[in-house]
């Protein structure tokens, strides 16, 4: 995400991405610390059996995350000078990288363009809103509104197509699941009619 896009071609996952890895390492390490604190707070079981208590595995996992996070941070600092030269690596260029046994030719390197933060925020925000109104408005209304908003954010000009899709999808899926497959979905506003 933070990798400098060289020419639009070689953006995705070029060999070392020190800043992103530094952040990822910090996130993993802090998750490890939070989980470790929580693991140490796991209460003693009422009846202690021989061997393995409830805290052993959580403690081991959180320590593992902490260690891996620190290793990621260290690794990102080690590869930093490569990026400082400002030469963007070409796609599939694996210099300075561990040779990959499974994928020596870098078939998986091409993971597409980086996602803009704004788009991410809009999509995440709409999805959270959908969750919050899912029960209150009911599946058909909430889903139609959510689909309409999301698809129109992506493609404003096609609002009519989007609206038709949103309503048809919401109603068809609702009828299919509640009537044919007898899965209970919140009716919400529709139910109050």
């Amino acid at each position: 995400m933070t990798a400098p896009a060289a020419d639009g071609e070689a953006s995705a996952r070029p060999a070392p991405r020190p800043r992103a890895d530094l952040l990822a390492g910090a996130a993993v390490a802090s998750a490890g610390i939070v989980l470790l604190v929580a693991a140490l707070a796991i209460p003693e079981p009422p009846r202690v059996s021989p061997g393995m208590g409830p805290e052993l595995l959580p403690t081991a996992v959180s320590v593992g995350l902490l260690v891996c996070g620190v290793l990621l941070i260290l690794a990102s600092r080690r590869s930093a000078p490569t990026a400082a030269t400002g030469v963007a690596p070409e796609r599939g260029d694996r210099r300075g990288r561990e040779p990959d046994l499974l994928d020596p030719e870098g078939l998986l390197d091409d993971v597409g363009p980086p996602v803009p933060w704004r788009g991410l925020a809009v999509v995440a925000g709409l999805t959270v809103a959908y969750a919050l109104v899912f029960e209150g408005l009911g599946f058909p209304v909430a889903t139609a509104l959510f689909l309409m908003a999301l698809t129109t954010y992506v493609e404003r000009q096609r609002w009519l197509r989007n609206a038709i899709f949103a309503v048809v999808f919401a109603v068809a899926v609702y009828v299919l699941f509640t009537q044919v497959l007898s899965v209970v979905l919140p009716a919400g506003l529709i139910g109050r009619l």
Partner: protein, 505 residues
């Protein structure tokens, strides 16, 4: 032979009209979901789990297994025509297959993928028929200590056998373990990592985890990029190949079947490992003039990996059914489905419910044949699915996973949990952390803890039980060797690469 009579009984059970209908529905739905760009077998199964609640175990499992290989096949269509694989295993197919399509040879590429899938899939099920009972017999000698050791080995290999950064794969395993631990401790009934939330004490449902890690990140990515147009699609007249294409494809079919099946047996990557290995082998054995075609659309590079990919399905089912140790994320999800129906795979399953096991295995033969019959003539119909506009597709996927998550617990909480785990998955995917090991680890960790505890209770808390039992210590040595092998191979590759840098050819 025991396996043969079991298989015949299974065939009889699978051939009833109802079960035939479920096989058909499974492979059809699987193919449809698999064709949709960015969606693979894991998403397909996770989305259908809420639906299968109401079904009989046999019918539900037949349906979901059908979805599994249907989606594998559907994924090859997407890889070849628009180069958007739904899962890592198809990425290899995308390379040569898409190059063939660009040269106007989409038809032969699709045909060889379909036939290869059928051959690999069917022969691997045969392997499954004969290998599972053997493994079951071996497994009866296993105690809790050996199971714990095997599960530990599976977790370790899941981390080491991934492509890309080993450190990041290890983090993924640990994240998956953490997600699998959340909830009430099953033995001591104390809450672990629930942070005071009552809803979290039930643990995180594996189906929810699969949707959150595989469907949500993909949908968020495409929507946030505001993708409007479908990828350029290659024209397909019909899926058929010339005699020459067939001649070139046959040896890769054979090699792909063996490689894929064996790789599928390994815990961790299953089919993916097979597809990559098959590609490497095909490139290596090709004559020099054919080798130049690799990267520009060599049919061998489609035939081999696609066969291996599908043979890996059968391979990965062996340890899942016989030992309850899944070899891939998809079989991990299937293991969860078995448990959901109150069935625990492993030797007991073959003993107590042989009818269910053999009906599922037999249905895999039928399903593979159906796929071939369905797909050679109907490929043009499935290709139409590639025209679904991305905004509608991914918004629809999000609405669908919300529905699925709701149907699991009927609470707002599971929707918020889906989103939270989905965002974690998204952050991991964008930063090069593989998600497959996380799902496998989440399924394996409760089993690991259970068996370790059993072994320790029997040994009265002495940890040396793992080292004093001959079988357990043998497994430990094998696991350590397998885990060290990639590191050794990597070191060799590195020294070779350094050598090549000095003397350019």
């Amino acid at each position: 032979m025991d396996a043969l009579s079991g298989l015949l009984d299974g065939l009889a059970a699978a051939l009833t009209p109802t079960n035939l209908l479920f096989v058909f529905a499974g492979v059809l739905i699987g193919t449809v979901v698999g064709v949709l760009p960015g969606l693979g077998p894991i998403t397909a199964i996770a989305l259908l789990i809420p639906l299968s609640f109401g079904l009989e175990p046999t019918a539900g499992l037949i349906l979901l297994s059908g979805v599994y290989y249907g989606a594998m096949y559907g994924g090859s269509i997407t890889s070849i025509l628009i180069r958007t694989p739904g899962e890592i295993a198809s990425a290899v197919t995308a390379l040569e297959g898409h190059a063939m399509a660009r040269r106007g040879q989409a038809g032969p590429a699709l045909a060889t993928a379909a036939i290869g899938s059928f051959i690999g899939g069917t022969l691997a099920v045969l392997g499954l028929v004969f290998l599972s009972p053997l493994l079951v017999q071996v497994a009866t000698a296993f105690g809790a200590a050996e199971y714990a050791m095997l599960l530990f080995g599976a977790l370790l290999l899941t981390g080491t056998l991934m492509t890309g950064s080993r450190l990041k794969a290890t983090v993924a395993v640990l994240v998956g373990m953490a997600l699998g631990i959340v909830g009430l401790d099953p033995q001591d009934t104390v809450p672990r990592w629930t942070f005071g939330s009552l809803e979290l004490s039930d643990g995180i449902n594996v189906a929810l985890l699969a949707m959150a890690l595989f469907a949500v990140p993909e949908a968020i990515r495409h929507l946030a990029l505001r993708e409007r147009r479908t990828a350029d699609r290659m024209r397909v007249q019909r899926a058929w190949m010339s005699r020459e294409d067939l001649r070139r494809s046959v040896p890769p079919y054979a090699r792909g079947t063996v490689i894929g099946f064996l790789a599928g047996l390994m815990p961790g990557l299953g089919p993916t490992l097979g597809a990559f290995a098959s590609y490497a082998v095909e490139k290596k054995v090709a004559r020099p003039e054919r080798r130049q075609m690799f990267g520009r659309g060599a049919i061998e590079g489609v035939a081999g990996p696609e066969t291996a990919n599908n043979a890996g399905v059968g391979g990965a089912m062996v340890p899942m059914l016989a030992l309850a140790i899944p070899g891939s994320a998809t079989t991990a999800l299937l293991l969860f489905v078995f448990q959901m129906y109150g069935l625990q795979p492993g030797p007991q399953l073959f003993e107590r419910s042989p009818d269910i096991v053999w009906a599922i295995i037999a249905s895999m033969f039928i399903g593979n044949a159906m796929l071939l019959v369905l797909n050679l003539p109907l490929v043009k119909v499935f290709v139409q699915l590639l025209r679904v506009p991305p905004p509608l597709l991914y918004a629809g996927v999000l609405a669908f996973v919300f529905l699925g998550a709701w149907a699991l617990t009927f609470s707002l909480f599971s929707l918020l949990l889906l989103l939270a785990v989905g965002l974690i998955g998204y952050a991991m995917q964008e930063n090069g952390f593989p998600l497959t090991p996380a799902l496998i680890a989440a399924v394996l960790v409760p089993l690991l803890e259970l068996n370790t505890r059993r072994a320790l209770i029997i040994s009265d808390g002495r940890w040396d039980v793992f080292l004093t039992r001959p079988l357990s210590v043998t497994l430990l040595i094998l696991i350590l060797l397998a885990a060290a092998a990639p590191a050794v191979l990597r070191a060799l590759a590195r020294s070779r690469a350094r050598h090549a840098d000095v003397t350019p050819d």
